[in-house]
Amino acid sequence: MGKLKSILGRIDDGLGAAEDLFIIVSHGAVASLVLLAVVMRYVFNDPLTWGEELVVGLFTWMIFIGAAGAIRSHMHIRIDVMGPVLANPKMNWLNTLTVIIGIVVVLTMMTACYEYVLQELVVESPMLGVSKAWFAMAMPTGLALMLIHVIRAWIDHGSAPVFRGETETLVATEGGVR
């Protein structure tokens, strides 16, 4: 069990690092392409016709991979009023139930994505002329990464902190006085 935990931890860290690199590069590319489009359109009067589709495609990937990364950084938003209730050790069963339901939602959504990607395989994007499945793939990829992060966090730290939100994290790190 210990060995399996360590292997999963290493895989998760590796994926997390790759994910972070992808997010940084894609966000930088999105910002640079938008600026390039402004310069081409207003300075050279020669708009990038393919630019908008490429930027939106990159943006879609950035969102879904970023959403997976946000699980690792505990940045997702949930109802804050439940924070103190869920932090109570007696409510651990509820945290476990929440994580299991979360995993079921992610797996069901991945099935939905599989059907959608198959539909999009034959559809071509209007400007870039590539299969729209390239855009549709962003979501199942992000969800798969999210699933790995959730399982790792659950195994390593228990169910309570898995879906901890931004404000709860801030309260925990700043050590506020309740």
């Binding site: 966000h27 969102i63 938003i77 404000t167």
Partner: protein, 422 residues
């Protein structure tokens, strides 16, 4: 619709993130009704494939670059030189400073953390009670989503299909009305509690501090003028604002280093991803509400109750204030706006005016327990007991509700600027 709303509420209460709760509820309905699952995936993915939404990561990036360049200190030094000489001057500095800070960051949580970090220790040292100091910082942060640029405005304009430029301009005067309400309340409290005066006024110091903060102060001007020109799209303006912030931080203030860039890009992209995953997850959710005819049902109920747009606005204000006490701002906005738009159109209520009313309502909700995110942030960052802070925050909630009533009943406060500039 019952299955959708009940499963959503249950998933939220057990502590699932909002985006997953929305997806779970939509999937439950789709499975129950025998609709193909791929419909949900298609709605989610196409929900974020929108060029106007690209303004969100770029405005967030611009704000983060400015913050990491240490501009909040410069802005507060400038406002301190401006209003510090009056009684309770340091408290007034926090309010006026937030008017400028809101024009840069666009996130009330970020503004609240920045203000609390600077002001709670300073105000406590100067003799103000810690509860008052933290409550003030939380209250000031309500200006964030109202004074442009604002991420919530980008989402609302996209949902309501109205001009983001108009909405940004429409937020300026209501934001100042809210600030004025807080300034007057603070002046009253300062007189009653004999708060100290800060440094004496000097034109020379004001000029020096203004010069130091001028590049940061210019960013909201750049954004608003960009919209006024009417040639650029919101996303392009956000891109230019990000580039401007980068240049100011790297080459003018020289407080930003290239090595900080990856971290800033990473955190702002993740912040955006969290917001946009909710926007994306709301797409199948709203679609189901639409086919279940939720907008029509609400419209019929409201029409049966009254035919006056003012009564409708009053009812909506009460409902939003109550909802804001229990629900997360972004979730309320994303779920309610598509349902309310047909109702608003039926009663000829201006969507830009309503956008401002909605945002003021929701930001007041951030200041009221039990889901007062600004209270939690100010309490944690300022290290102040939540109960102390809540008591001191109540008068600020009261004056902000008064400001909301004025903004609701005088539409020209929001609509005059965008119309005058056309």
């Amino acid at each position: 619709m019952t299955l959708l709303l009940i499963s959503f509420a249950l998933l939220l209460v057990i502590g699932l993130p909002i985006a997953l709760a929305m997806l779970g509820a939509s999937l439950a309905v789709v499975l129950w009704e025998g609709i193909p699952l791929s419909v949900v995936a298609q709605r989610v993915v196409t929900g974020v494939q929108s060029f106007p939404l690209l303004a969100i990561p770029l405005f967030t990036l611009a704000g983060s670059l400015m913050n990491d360049s240490g501009i909040s200190e410069r802005l507060f030094s400038f406002t301190r030189a401006f209003v510090g000489h009056i009684r309770g001057g340091m408290a007034q500095t926090a309010i006026v400073g937030n008017i400028f800070l809101s024009g840069i960051s666009g996130s009330s949580v970020a503004d609240c953390a920045a203000t609390s970090r600077v002001f709670v220790p300073q105000l406590s040292k100067a003799g103000y009670s810690a509860g008052f100091a933290a409550a003030l910082c939380a209250a000031c942060a309500t200006l964030g989503p109202i004074i442009p640029p604002s991420i919530l405005m980008v989402i609302y304009a996209w949902q309501a299909n109205i001009s983001l430029g108009d909405l940004f301009w429409a937020g300026v005067i209501p934001g100042l009305v809210m600030a004025l309400a807080m300034v007057l309340l603070t002046a009253y409290i300062a007189r009653r509690r004999q708060f100290p005066k800060d440094q004496a006024f000097a034109w020379a110091r004001l000029w020096t501090e203004f010069r130091s903060a001028a590049w940061a102060l210019f960013m909201p001007v750049l954004i608003l003028v960009g919209f006024r020109m009417g040639v650029f799209t919101a996303t392009e303006i956000a891109g230019v604002a990000a580039a401007y912030s980068l240049i100011v931080g790297l080459f003018i203030y020289r407080t930003l280093r290239w090595s900080q860039l990856p971290k800033i890009l990473l955190s702002t992209a993740k912040e955006t991803a969290v917001i946009l995953l909710i926007v994306a997850a709301a797409s199948p959710f709203s679609w189901i509400l639409g086919i279940e005819q939720a907008p029509q049902l609400i419209s019929q109920a409201l029409t049966a109750a009254t035919d006056s747009p003012w009564v409708i606005l009053l009812l909506l204000n009460v409902a939003l204030l109550v909802l804001g006490c229990f629900m997360e701002t972004l979730a309320i906005m994303i779920i309610l706006v598509p349902i309310l738009i047909p109702v608003l159109n039926q009663f000829n209520i201006d969507l830009t005016h309503f956008g401002i009313i909605l945002l003021v309502n929701l930001t007041i909700g951030q200041l009221t327990p039990p889901v007062g995110v600004l209270l939690f942030v100010a309490s944690s960052v300022g290290k102040v007991k939540l109960s102390l802070l809540m008591r001191e925050a109540l008068p600020y909630v009261a004056v902000l509700i008064a400001a909301l009533m004025v903004i609701t009943n005088v539409p020209s406060l929001a609509l005059w600027l965008p119309q005058a500039l056309k």
